[in-house]
């Protein structure tokens, strides 16, 4: 995490060539994730943005990458960093038709 911070600071400071932890935004408008599947690297962050007009509750119960954002109000953006490689099934607990498969690579 410290490395990531340094990398980001360097990146912001002046266009460093350091390739490092990436950010990907996942939107939720219309009870739909903006992606149905995404491949990221270990240490990357998905930013779950509730740009819908109702609450969502994004979570995963995949062992090693569990998380639960709880009730996320419209207009809230929450980052989640994945630190273990593997397939991660992400869904909205309230709206289980909203599914996102995350592949975390080493």
């Amino acid at each position: 995490m410290r490395l990531m911070t340094i990398a980001l600071v360097a990146a912001f400071a002046g266009g460093s060539a350091v390739a490092f932890a990436a950010q990907h935004s996942i939107m939720q408008k219309g009870k739909t994730f903006s992606e149905s599947a995404i491949t990221i690297k270990k240490g990357d962050t998905l930013v779950f943005v509730n740009d819908d007009n109702i609450h969502h509750n994004v979570l995963s119960t995949t062992p090693g990458n569990e998380f639960n954002l709880g009730s996320q109000a419209p207009g809230v953006s929450t980052p989640v960093t994945f630190d273990k490689a593997g397939q991660v099934d992400v869904m909205c607990a309230i709206h289980p038709r909203m599914k996102l498969q995350v592949t975390v690579t080493d």
Partner: protein
């Protein structure tokens, strides 16, 4: 800069999130790391025009069947016989149709189902109408497909109470079933999976009929009353019904605690750590709704007027209560308009013929 941002719709949003992430240091080795939430500016979408709104409720042209269990006449014919066959229960008294009875619009008309030895079950028997269009099944969502759901009530001791190995033995002992299984499943014949697939195929053919509402959606302005038209507008606006009861089948398969005062935690049994899933149940569709009383997962409301009063009051306040449950301030006229609208969703369904069962 090597940061990759996909679908970056708002640069400021992502920049803010990045700032937050750099400040997040707590990493557990056994879970993903949730950073600090930040507020973003969400622009309200413009209201849909009446025509755009109506387009969302247009009936589909066909029934969807899954790739791993496509429709065949042979499966549907076999599935219908299995569906109505009381020998799928240990006492030879209960069939699927006992609780999901076409005479009661594919429910049973009772507040709660009745299972083995006439014992009352915990929840109301849901109608199977339009199950083909569902994405998750049972009031608590414990089945991910109709195939997964189909064997559950058969083997559950308080329902049909017939272990699957005994089910197979019984079906093997009924000679006239054998050619039906061979025709429907030439490769596998009689297996637990083929029983489930046949039942699911038949259930998918149970679709609500064309209602006055459908004629109105398709352009016949005289098909429904002015009360019902006002009710449709309220349904999609002030009353907030369409936040969950959306689309032509009037459900988005979502789970909510709507504040009914019973001890049943519903979906919470499967997601115990998720506050909003405690007392949460699946949003039922509303097709044929006037013939499906009593209402709610616990059958606690005798008519649609009582349902309107419940939503107007907002339900029992507790941590799990859905944010969408708020007192709506609906007037008596508005409640009446909403009920008039829901009445327009009931069709003249064709009577269902009962099959002759194999012996």
């Amino acid at each position: 800069m090597q940061i990759v941002i996909s679908r970056m719709l708002r640069g400021a949003v992502v920049a803010a999130a990045i700032t937050t992430v750099t400040a997040t240091v707590a990493i557990r080795s056994d879970a993903a790391t949730v950073g600090q939430p930040v507020a973003i500016d969400v622009k309200n979408r413009p209201d849909a025009s009446p025509e755009q709104l109506k387009a969302k409720y247009r009936r589909p042209d066909s029934i969807p069947f899954p790739k791993d269990n496509p429709y065949t006449v042979e499966k549907a014919v076999l599935g219908k016989k299995l569906y109505f066959d009381t020998r799928l229960s240990s006492a030879n008294l209960l069939s699927c149709a006992s609780c999901h009875n076409p005479a009661y619009d594919w429910g049973d008309g009772q507040p709660k189902g009745v299972g083995h030895n006439m014992k009352q079950l915990g929840r109301r028997s849901p109608s199977i109408v339009n199950a083909a269009f569902g994405g998750i099944f049972m009031w608590d969502g414990r089945a991910g497909s109709l195939e997964e759901q189909a064997l559950g009530p058969i083997k559950t001791d308080v329902e049909m109470n017939l272990p699957i190995d005994q089910l197979l033995e019984k079906l093997k002992g009924i000679p006239e079933y054998q050619p039906l299984f061979r025709a429907a499943f030439p490769k596998d014949g009689l297996t637990p999976e083929s029983v489930a697939k046949a039942l699911a195929t038949y259930e998918r053919t149970v679709v609500s009929g064309r209602a006055p509402f459908d004629a109105w959606i398709e352009g016949d302005e005289k098909a429904i009353s002015e009360d019902a038209k006002r009710g449709f507008t309220l349904f999609n606006t002030k009353a907030g019904c369409a936040n969950c009861h959306s689309g032509w089948n009037f459900t988005d398969d979502s789970f909510h605690d709507i504040g009914l005062s019973d001890a049943d935690i519903g979906r919470g049994k499967f997601l115990p750590a998720v506050v909003k899933m405690q007392h949460a149940f699946k949003t039922p569709g509303l097709r044929e709704i006037t013939r499906r009383a009593p209402y709610m997962h616990d059958g606690s409301m005798p008519n649609l007027e009582a349902v309107m009063d419940h939503y107007a009051n907002g339900g029992e306040i507790r941590p799990s209560l859905s944010e969408l449950m708020k007192p709506t301030g609906l007037s008596a006229q508005e409640k009446s308009d909403l009920v008039a609208f829901m009445k327009s969703l009931t069709s003249e369904m064709e009577p269902t013929t009962i099959p002759v069962l194999p012996r």
